[in-house]
């Protein structure tokens, strides 16, 4: 199957200019994604996952500012588009769902109103057609009695239901890409599984790609085709699911995987935090950001940022250990 590049983020640098100083939230982030991929973005809290997602939506909030790099999505250069142009893409070509379904819907408007809003924004459907489409969408996300639900307010629905409604809104215009920012973190385990199942089912029905931001390696294992591992505003490793799970190269990734009891039967384990404290983004270290917590840390790690080592066409990692191995290998060849 020929696949096309849907999303290509190159050397994205993004900072928040706060009164305390410049918070370098993203440092040279490059992420590439093919049509049909389900890309998992993992990494501990504060590593820049959400900021990356918002930048794809063109929703970098003040005082955040993109200071370098490019974002190409579906033929658009996102980082050069005006707010007005972006509005036509949001909710239509790329949609997003969020962590907390309890607060993501406006409490004073009905479910129907909030679904129709996005339909009216991006399509020419009339009132009746928009209504029919809303019913169809609620059926699609597995909400029964849609006619009744459309008239209800968010507070009349459970958390799982509301997340289904959020998904319905996100999918109303059949986007090319759905970004889900920890969509199940706030839900209980059985509901989590249902939502993930629903997303995968919808992915098959509508031809879309998914970015799944999560803490949960179990979810990644069950649905993703590719993984990006982020640490302190950097992509420290990226690869296919097999490459990351069976051949992790970065010490941080290895640490993450060690924290799950059994990779082959992921029982929805949350990432157990690796010892040590996260990086101070106001004063990021010059060398490898993971160095203070890494037990393989060498002198060079503290002094210089490691370059990416290409392990395969899809697999890359930024760790001095790999550079060292490569160097030794090439020395061996020269001998």
């Amino acid at each position: 199957m020929m696949s096309n590049t849907l999303l290509d983020i190159k050397n994205l640098r993004l900072s928040f200019f706060t009164p305390a100083g410049e918070v370098k939230a993203l440092n040279d982030v490059s992420i590439s994604m093919q049509e049909g991929d389900v890309l998992g973005i993992v990494g501990e809290s504060g590593s820049g996952k959400s900021v990356t997602a918002y930048s794809i939506m063109g929703l970098t909030a003040h005082p955040g500012k993109i200071i370098g790099g490019t974002i190409d999505f579906n033929g658009h250069r996102i980082n050069e588009m005006s707010e007005k142009q972006m509005r036509k893409i949001r909710g239509k070509e790329v949609s997003m769902i969020f962590q907390d379904p309890m607060t993501s819907l406006n409490p004073v408007y009905t479910i129907g109103n909030q679904i129709r809003e996005v339909i009216y924004l991006h399509t020419d459907l009339d009132k009746q057609q928009a209504y029919d489409r809303s019913v169809e969408l609620l059926n699609l996300v597995g909400i029964n009695d849609p006619e009744k639900r459309l008239k209800q307010y968010p507070h009349e629905l459970s958390g799982g239901m509301r997340q289904r409604v959020m998904i319905a809104i996100a999918l109303a215009c059949e986007p090319k890409l759905l970004i889900a920012d920890e969509p199940t973190t706030a839900l209980d385990v059985t509901i989590q599984a249902q939502i993930i199942e629903l997303m995968m089912e919808l992915k098959r029905k509508i031809n879309m790609s998914i970015i799944m931001i999560t803490h949960d390696l179990g979810i990644v294992a069950s649905m993703c085709t590719n993984i990006v591992v982020m640490y302190a505003g950097k992509v420290v490793e990226a690869g296919s699911i097999d490459e990351i799970f069976y051949n992790p190269k970065h010490e941080y990734t290895k640490g993450l995987l060690r924290s799950i009891p059994n990779i082959d039967s992921p029982s929805h384990e949350r990432l157990i935090p690796i010892e040590g404290s996260p990086v101070d983004m106001l004063n990021p270290p010059v060398g490898c950001p993971f160095a203070p917590r890494c037990d393989k840390c060498m002198k060079i790690c503290l002094k210089r940022m490691p370059e990416y080592t290409k392990i395969s066409d899809t697999h890359k990692s930024a760790c001095w250990m790999l550079q060292k191995e490569e160097l030794e290998r090439s020395k061996g060849v020269m001998k």
């Binding site: 509005r87 909710g91 409490p107 924004l121």
Partner: protein, 305 residues
């Protein structure tokens, strides 16, 4: 809904009863009397007057008599404005104050809401600080200063606006501004803080992610949520502003209820004090019910019980 109405009516009756009783006995405890003007009448006249109005009877009897009449909706007769029924006084004076007050409320809301929202959007910027400065000022300056300054500047100095009575639409301008001053400042502050809170809500982010424009997300998604605290404030504010401000009515010589009320207190015009107080309480209760209903309409999460 019907349970709500029954509940409200019962609590209104109890409140009105308590207000009437409390006012009655407080009035009785305060020294002085209605006939102790500068030209004190002779003891004989005094006695005759007190007999006429039943003020010579034991307080308990006076109280029961009053309450009996009150039940029939009769607020009695004024002691100072001989022969005038309190009902009649309220009926003629209240519309004057209410008209003025209503204009002031409309002004306060239509200025306060937008500038408060605007300040929130420009948070921390120059315009926000400017608006906040003026609204702090607006809340700190006492009403009589506002009224006097307006009157002096526009009426006496520039001579562009009338300052006496309410005989033409132009006459409304200064008193309405004076009345609206404080509520405008207060509403804009209230709106600013409430708007700031709402702008940070998750559903505002959802609206953006759907492709809703900033303008529309403010008007549709933020405003309706942000306005709730203002609605709460509007209830008591309406009641007090509709019954008239003593200061503004005094300064601009307006024969409204506010002016009358304060007059009745200095005069110890017991029936008039009682009547106006009960009327004010009644208005306050009504406004609070209206607020509840408005709340319910704005926010579907509110249950009326």
């Amino acid at each position: 809904m019907s349970r709500y109405i029954i509940k409200r009516v019962i609590s209104a009756i109890i409140t009105l009863f308590l207000v009437a009783t409390l006012t009655f006995f407080l009035m009785y405890l305060v020294p002085g009397g209605p006939f102790l003007a500068e030209k004190a009448p002779s003891p004989q006249t005094m006695k005759a007057l007190e007999e006429k109005y039943g003020l010579d009877q034991p307080v308990g009897v006076q109280y029961t008599n009053y309450m009996k009449r009150l039940l029939k909706g009769d607020l009695g007769t004024s002691l100072k404005m001989r022969g005038q029924e309190v009902n009649h006084i309220i009926k003629t004076r209240f519309p004057i104050s209410a008209k003025l007050g209503l204009c002031a409320v409309i002004l306060a809301v239509s200025v306060g809401l937008p500038i408060g929202s605007f300040a929130a959007l420009k948070r921390g910027k120059f315009l926000d600080r400017l608006i906040m400065f003026f609204s702090t000022l607006g809340m700190a300056v006492p009403g009589f200063v506002v009224a006097t300054v307006l009157m002096y500047f526009f009426g006496v100095k520039l001579r562009v606006l009338p300052t006496f009575g309410l005989t033409s639409p132009l006459h409304y301008i200064l008193p309405v501004i004076a009345l609206a001053f404080y509520p405008t400042a207060y509403i804009s502050r209230l709106m600013r803080s409430s708007m700031l809170d709402i702008i940070g809500q998750d559903y505002m982010r959802t609206a953006k992610a759907k492709g809703v424009s900033q303008f529309k997300s403010l008007f549709k998604h933020a405003l309706r949520n942000a306005i709730l605290p203002v609605v709460t404030y509007l209830g008591p504010m309406l009641a007090s502003i509709l019954t008239g401000s003593f200061i503004v009515e005094k300064v601009f010589t307006i024969p409204g209820l506010g002016n009358q009320f304060i007059g009745s207190i200095t005069d110890r015009d017991y029936p008039l004090i009682m009547g106006t107080t009960i009327f004010l309480a009644f208005l306050l209760i009504t406004m609070n019910v209206l607020v509840d209903i408005a709340y319910k309409i704005i926010d579907p999460r509110i249950k009326m019980e």
